[in-house]
């Protein structure tokens, strides 16, 4: 309201200033103006003043003025704009904006002379004393006389003054003013205290260092051992005791001399006690001096300026201990000051009393030079020394020094904890290489590698962690907590410090060793580890738990694992069925577009996109070109190789990509996917090769390698291969993948931090690879199984070729011209597209042949087979032989794989392999018996 009222008043004044009307002389118009002004000022469409725009407009105006030959005007404006007062004025842009709005063609209308009119008239010169005196000299009579200020005092004051005077002087007559002054001077002399000479003597006597007290006659016996008696100064034991306490407090004394360069304190030899032998007294003083020297060493160390934070903390801690010592010395001294009861003044007693509080400081005096030396090299070495010393004191059972050293160490350690705390709470690093053991990669790292590559544990040139020894075990945990915080901040979650981090236990003596007065029995290192673990847990748990929960809930780690299972492990086999069938057909027919990555991606997205756990946009399928396209290389069927080139990719969010590393996807997931697809392809081909009932009608006259035998052989091979393929697929999906993924989920749930999740996933990937026989050490077995799959492909090819032969054969017999033409065409097409039916496993020299030669070989009536295989019946003989050879090869490979699996299983491998070996054997035996 006050603000509005102020605005209203200012507006009224403005109206009056601009229009000349007031509320009194023209109320109607004034009200109209006021209403208009209030409305216009309140409701408008202008934005906030932009200071840069105002500056730009003024610059433009100045430039315009310069162009119009008004340089002086432009300069004048520029000068005023650059005035300090205006630059400091907060509302300058707004005021200048107003002036600009109201400006009226300055180039033509403005004149510099107008400024002169603004100048105020010159003010009169200030009045000085010289002017006053020159006008009115101070030479009047009586001008320097004293003024009686009391002349105008009130009657009451006068009355009081009179009554006071009366009370002082009684009924005597008032003396004259001069006499009164003399009286006052006398009164002052009376009030001054006269010094008591005896007290003064007592004090000067007490200053034994100024007044020599000669040894008395009765003392001579006692101090006869002293050096020259004539030079011996006697003092009392009380005086000596006080001097000793002063010396221990670090004060200069007469009884002791201090060498300023070395800091060594020595007793002054001339003093002796009256009742003690000189040697004993000097010996005792030397013992005190020794203590004093060491305390002085510590005291001097604390007075040095330290630049290293750890040493500053140590300094502060020692200073506080020195204060405690001082209090104890004062307590001892107070016994001799407030003599309420009889006290025995004994230097020996004091020596025993001061020894206990001095003991830790004496130990420290020995330690400090070493500490300083190590701190210069590496600040945390100083902590290590303190830790070591504390452990030693604990082992020695020194119940005086142990609390002292522990507190000292913990004070320093709490300083060392600061960067650790900052790192664990906010993920901030102090870039001091000398102290902190966590480093940050110099170049920025992608978010997906944030956990792995951004931060690292710093090591020294020997490869050891750049941290105090007693902290090394926890370094990883500290690193992980900080990384969790950084991770959460990158996720935009850890904006402020969580409340849970506030309640950290303070690491002091009570926290480490408990409140019991006696020394704890457990080793100090264990006690410290336990306390520090609690301290770490207060931070580690909250950061890690928050991150873990975020990854689970917001970023759906399990959902993504689900998606990966569907994509790579064909969790729901039916989803992929259509896509794979089309793919297998295309490969079989050798369509060029089989590996069209856009089509494959679209098919995969269509097949899997309906799943709730999937984000189809993240799914891509691509195919790398096959080396030696069109050729069968390395003895492996081309289709197998082709399937191996299909790569499925699922883009993971960066937060999850830190856990599910890319190499696990390519090494394990992708390879399992390829294996599963290859098995399914083999199964698809085998199931397509059907044998009719008519093929198994036994002929009346059985000849060697008749159709019947070949079909029987073919059936047995198909059966074996189908059994093998089904067994293998079932083993992979039901035995390996299901259990492994369940185990992974369990481990992920149990993981306490991201590192545990990563290791759980790594473990899963390695184990999966091994169980799927994809690891390097199981390579021979894997190769045998691949050869079996290879055989399945070849068998399919062979079977197709024989089917074509038979169909051609039948067409010759039928004699229909139309059908003949049709079948020829069909045959020609299939023959061109059919991959070769090779069974000569051992002779792979010819495998580098090009497509045409491959097709020639495939064609039973081609140039290569023109001699023996010129007619269809003659072609059946090698087919039967090939089938037999194939059967033998299957037996051999199955046997090899089963034996290999059994032996690996017994040598500490997976128990499931033994089972798989049995299954493989089981598939063979009945067939053998049957044949």
């Amino acid at each position: 309201m006050a603000h509005l009222a102020k605005l209203g008043l200012l507006t009224d004044e403005l109206i009056t200033a601009l229009t000349g009307i007031t509320e009194q002389n023209d109320p109607q118009n004034f009200r109209l103006c006021r209403k208009f002004a209030a409305r216009s000022l309140k409701h408008h469409n202008y934005g906030r003043t932009n200071q840069f725009e105002v500056a730009q407009r003024l610059d433009g105006l100045q430039e315009k003025l310069s162009i119009l030959n008004c340089d002086e005007l432009a300069d004048a404006i520029e000068d005023r704009r650059n005035e300090d007062t205006l630059l400091r004025y907060n509302w300058a842009p707004e005021a200048l904006s107003l002036i600009l709005e109201l400006s009226n063609k300055p180039a033509t209308n403005s004149r510099l002379e107008d400024l002169e009119a603004l100048k105020p008239p010159p003010s009169p010169p200030p009045l000085t004393w010289e002017d006053i005196i020159s006008e009115d000299p101070l030479d009047e009579e009586g001008i320097w006389d004293e003024v009686d200020f009391g002349a105008e005092s009130s009657e009451d004051e006068e009355f009081e003054r009179r009554s006071f005077d009366r009370s002082v002087s009684g009924d005597e007559t008032q003396p004259s003013s001069v006499a009164a002054e003399e009286n006052e001077a006398q009164n002052l002399e009376v009030t001054l205290l006269q010094p008591d000479q005896s007290i003064l003597d007592h004090i000067s006597k007490a200053q034994f260092w100024n007044h020599r007290t000669r040894p008395a006659k009765e003392d001579v016996d006692l101090i006869e051992t002293a050096i020259d008696l004539s030079k011996t100064w006697k003092l009392s034991e009380m005086q000596a005791l006080r001097e000793v306490l002063f010396m221990l407090s670090g004060l200069p004394t007469s009884l002791f001399s201090c060498d300023t360069s070395t800091g060594v304190i020595k007793p002054v030899e001339k003093y002796a006690l009256g009742h003690t032998s000189y040697d004993s007294f000097q010996g005792l003083l030397a013992a005190f001096a020794n203590l004093g020297t060491q305390v002085q060493t510590v005291r001097q160390w604390t007075s040095l300026e330290q630049s290293i934070p750890l040493l500053q903390s140590l300094n502060a801690s020692i200073s506080s201990r020195l204060k405690i010592l001082q209090q104890k010395l004062l307590q001892i001294e107070s016994r001799f000051v407030h003599l309420r009861k009889q006290v025995v003044v004994s230097l020996v007693d004091v020596y025993h009393r001061v020894q206990t509080p001095l003991l830790p400081l004496l130990m420290l005096a020995d330690l400090l030079p070493a500490l300083k030396e190590t701190a210069g090299e590496n600040p945390f070495k100083c902590l290590e020394k303190l830790f070591h010393q504390t452990s030693l004191v604990h082992l020695a059972g020194d119940d005086v020094s142990f609390p002292f050293m522990t507190s000292l160490f913990l004070d320093c350690f709490n300083t060392y904890l600061r960067p650790i705390r900052a790192w664990m709470e906010s993920g901030e690093l102090y870039y001091n290489e000398e102290i902190f053991f966590i480093g940050m990669a110099e170049k920025s790292v992608e978010n997906r590698n944030l956990w792995h590559d951004q931060y690292f544990l710093r090591q020294d040139h020997r490869g050891r962690l750049h941290a105090p020894e007693f902290l090394r075990a926890q370094a990883k945990k500290i690193l992980n907590t900080g990384k969790s915080v950084v991770f959460l901040r990158r996720l935009g979650i850890f904006g402020s410090r969580p409340a849970a981090l506030e309640d950290e236990p303070y690491l002091d003596y009570a926290a480490v060793c408990g409140t019991d007065n006696s020394i704890p029995l457990a080793p100090f290192s264990d006690l410290f580890d336990e306390a520090f673990e609690r301290w770490l847990d207060s931070k580690h748990h909250s950061a890690s738990t928050v991150l873990r929960n975020v990854l689970f809930s917001r970023y759906g780690l399990f959902t993504i694992l689900d998606a990966l299972e569907h994509i790579y492990f064909l969790k729901d086999g039916s989803l992929y069925a259509n896509m794979l069938t089309v793919l297998f057909e295309k490969i079989e027919r050798r369509k060029d577009s089989w590996n069209d990555r856009f089509l494959l991606t679209e098919q995969a997205q269509g097949a899997l996109g309906t799943l709730a756990c999937m984000d189809p946009k993240r799914l891509f399928v691509r195919s790398t070109p096959l080396a030696g396209e069109g050729a069968e290389t390395g003895g492996t069927h081309r289709s197998l190789k082709m399937l191996g080139t299909i790569k499925v990719e699922y883009t993971l969010p960066w937060s999850i990509a830190n856990i599910i590393a890319r190499h696990t996807i390519t090494d394990s997931y992708q390879r399992v996917f390829t294996l599963l697809v290859q098995i399914r392809n083999a199964k698809y081909l085998l199931e397509r090769r059907r044998l009719l009932k008519t093929d198994f009608i036994k002929p009346n006259h059985a000849s060697a390698d008749s159709n019947y035998d070949v079909n029987l052989l073919s059936l047995s091979i198909r059966h074996r291969l189908l059994w093998l393929v089904n067994t293998l697929y079932s083993y992979l999906t039901e035995t390996v993948i299901v259990t492994s993924t369940l185990e992974l989920r369990y481990d992920m749930n149990a993981a306490k931090d991201v590192d545990a999740m990563i290791s759980a996933h790594e473990h899963f990937a390695v184990k999966l690879q091994e169980q799927c026989l994809l690891s390097r050490k199981l390579s021979p077995i894997y190769q045998a199984l691949m050869s079996l799959l290879d055989l399945a492909f070849h068998f399919s090819d062979l079977h197709s070729a024989s089917e074509v032969d038979r169909s051609v054969d039948r067409s010759v017999l039928s004699g229909s011209r139309h059908d003949q033409a049709l079948r020829d065409k069909q045959y020609a097409g299939r023959a061109m597209k059919r991959p070769t039916a090779r069974l000569d496993f051992d002779s792979s020299d010819d495998e580098e042949a090009d497509d045409s030669s491959e097709y020639d070989e495939l064609d039973p009536r081609g140039s290569k087979g023109s001699g023996a295989r010129s007619s269809l019946p003659s072609n059946r003989v090698p087919l039967a032989a090939r089938l037999r050879e194939m059967r033998a090869e299957i037996d051999r490979l199955c046997g090899f794989a089963a034996t290999g699996l059994r032996s690996v299983s017994r040598a500490g491998g997976e128990p499931a392999w033994d089972m798989l070996a049995d299954m493989l054997d089981w598939g063979i035996r009945p067939t053998e018996e049957h044949l």
């Binding site: 601009l18 229009t19 000022l41 404006i77 707004e94 005021a95 107003l98 002036i99 709005e101 009226n104």
Partner: protein
């Protein structure tokens, strides 16, 4: 007797503040004159006070322009009335 009143410690900053404000107005008035805004010192001070109270300078400039126009119109009207009265008194319009 009460001790003589000491000079208030806050009066000095207040004085310097007032002097600074005066200097600002001086400079602004100079710029205003150079740009021929036809604002006298009082009006300028009032405008600056209004701006310091949060009034938008462009809106204020509009108000100033309008009030000037209104003032001119009123003045013109008044002059006209005066002439009319004078003439009426002289009897020019008696017919």
């Amino acid at each position: 007797m009460a001790p003589p009143a000491q000079p208030q410690p806050s009066s000095q900053p207040a004085d310097s503040k007032r002097a600074a404000a005066r200097e600002v107005i001086d400079i602004l008035q100079e710029i205003s004159t150079l740009l021929d805004t036809k604002l006298d010192r009082t009006t300028l001070s009032l405008c600056v006070s209004l701006i310091e109270n949060g009034v938008n300078p462009e809106a204020l400039a509009n108000v100033v322009k309008e009030l000037r126009r209104e003032g001119d119109a009123l003045r013109h009207q008044r002059d006209h009335d005066l002439v009319y009265e004078e003439d009426a008194r002289r009897g020019d319009y008696s017919d």
